[in-house]
């Protein structure tokens, strides 16, 4: 696919004015829903994501239970109004795949051995989409799991890198994703640097892949700091209010 507009100009400025190594603006708030055990609302550029976590609770039906550990059931769903044309509601091939990879990424960080036979349900609702919703969803899910008081080895975080106009850049926007050359979303455990999720769409040479991977890693650490700040802000403010 080719676009008439240059995705990145000769000075290295992108369509929205970012330089190749800039993230879009991220805003995270923890504990926004009262009925869920844990929740998070996240805005990442033009993405708006709402995540609700329930559990651990007994997994139903019985045959999905694991007698030794808990299962993590993430459900990624896009709202009908999240894209320009109406998205046909309900799970489709794309969202089933994303639900699966996110579930597996989260299972690696939750201490699932502590809750045999249980299920931890993560509902990821994409309200507004602008490229990189799986990364936004997984990042928000990490905050919501902490907010639910679920034991974790680490707070998972995700970020994407890609290639546009022959250059490797961080965090693709909508046009860059649609008309770019490649997209590489990854999720990591920032404490250990372990990779929890890695997907690729498009073509990259090995050198470009390594460059994009390192860039995405760096992006993850940046997002991780925003996550931590959001959680501490929510829970330290309770203490500060009364201290005055």
């Amino acid at each position: 696919m080719k676009s008439d507009r240059e995705l990145i100009n000769s000075e290295g400025r992108r369509l929205d004015g970012r330089s190749p190594h800039d993230l879009r603006k991220i805003k995270i708030e923890a504990g926004v829903l009262h009925r869920a055990d844990g929740s998070c609302s996240l805005e990442w550029g033009g993405n708006k994501v709402l995540v609700a976590v329930y559990g651990p609770r007994e997994a139903v039906p019985r045959h999905v239970q694991n007698p030794l550990k808990a299962i993590v059931q993430a459900r990624y769903n896009m709202a009908a109004f999240s894209v320009e044309d109406r998205k046909r509601p309900g799970p489709d091939r794309r969202s089933v795949e994303i639900s699966k990879v996110i579930s597996e990424a989260l299972e690696k960080v939750v201490l699932i051995e502590q809750f045999p036979r249980a299920s931890i349900d993560v509902n990821i609702e994409v309200l507004d989409a602008e490229a990189g919703t799986r990364c936004a969803g997984l990042t928000a899910a990490g905050v919501a799991l902490v907010d639910a008081g679920i034991p974790l080895r680490d707070i998972p975080v995700a970020c994407a890198a890609g290639k546009i106009g022959g250059r490797v850049v961080l965090d693709l926007g909508k046009e860059e994703d649609n008309y770019g050359d490649a997209d590489l979303p990854i999720a990591i455990s920032p404490r250990t640097g372990e990779v929890l999720l890695l997907q690729m769409d498009g073509h990259l040479t090995i050198d470009e892949f390594n460059e994009a991977f390192d860039l995405a890693m760096k992006g993850c650490y940046e997002v991780s700091e925003i996550q931590k700040k959001a959680i501490l802000q929510k829970y330290q403010s309770a203490a500060a209010e009364v201290q005055e």
Binding site: E58, V146, L152, S189, I231, L232, Y235, A238, A239
Partner: protein, 226 residues
Amino acid sequence: MTNEGRQVVIPGQILGEIPALQPGRGTFVENKKIFAERLGVMNIQEKFIHIIPLKGRYDPVVGDFVIGVVLEASTSNWMVDINAPYPALLHVNEVPWEIEFADTEKYLNTGDTILAKVLSVDESKKLQITLNDRNLFKLKGGHLIEFEPSVYRRIIGKKYSMIEIIQKYTRCRIKVGKNGRIWIDGDADGIEKVLAAISMIEREAITFGLTDRIEEFLKKDAKDVR
């Protein structure tokens, strides 16, 4: 008032190293380093680092007093919801009444509230509870409210100080379950006040001097005190 010793920690945060400190509740160890496994406040007692959780499900421990709601009655047992990840089993041998076979519904039926004790928790987290003890019984009437199980200790207070203050000023009968449930019986005004006090404790759980503030709050419009 300072916030020292009441540091909020998040999962994966490094807390210390092993020779100098020892891992306690809510922590895990990797390469001789101690990490927090959940959101909570850090507490160091005699070299042991504990995390007092701020949020999270009730984790049943043998001997805990819990308030349960009966889910269903079978021929020889009841299934009871005790707010844990799993339902608990109450066998007919574990109740103080003589029950004929399949007569379980006459004594406890769906929706009934009981004050029970956790009898056993096995390795696959199968739970059993009992009513065979002093102070364990079916709770008739009253109101049932839920709170964050992690603030149980604050609601009880040091040597029951907090709960005694609440009872004194509201003239209500109160039973607190470790599983994050409170049963209240009394007049409407009293119940109203207990609810306000509980939500205040929940909100301000990680601060010092809470008991005094609650007493002040309840004293304001207390008419007659026992």
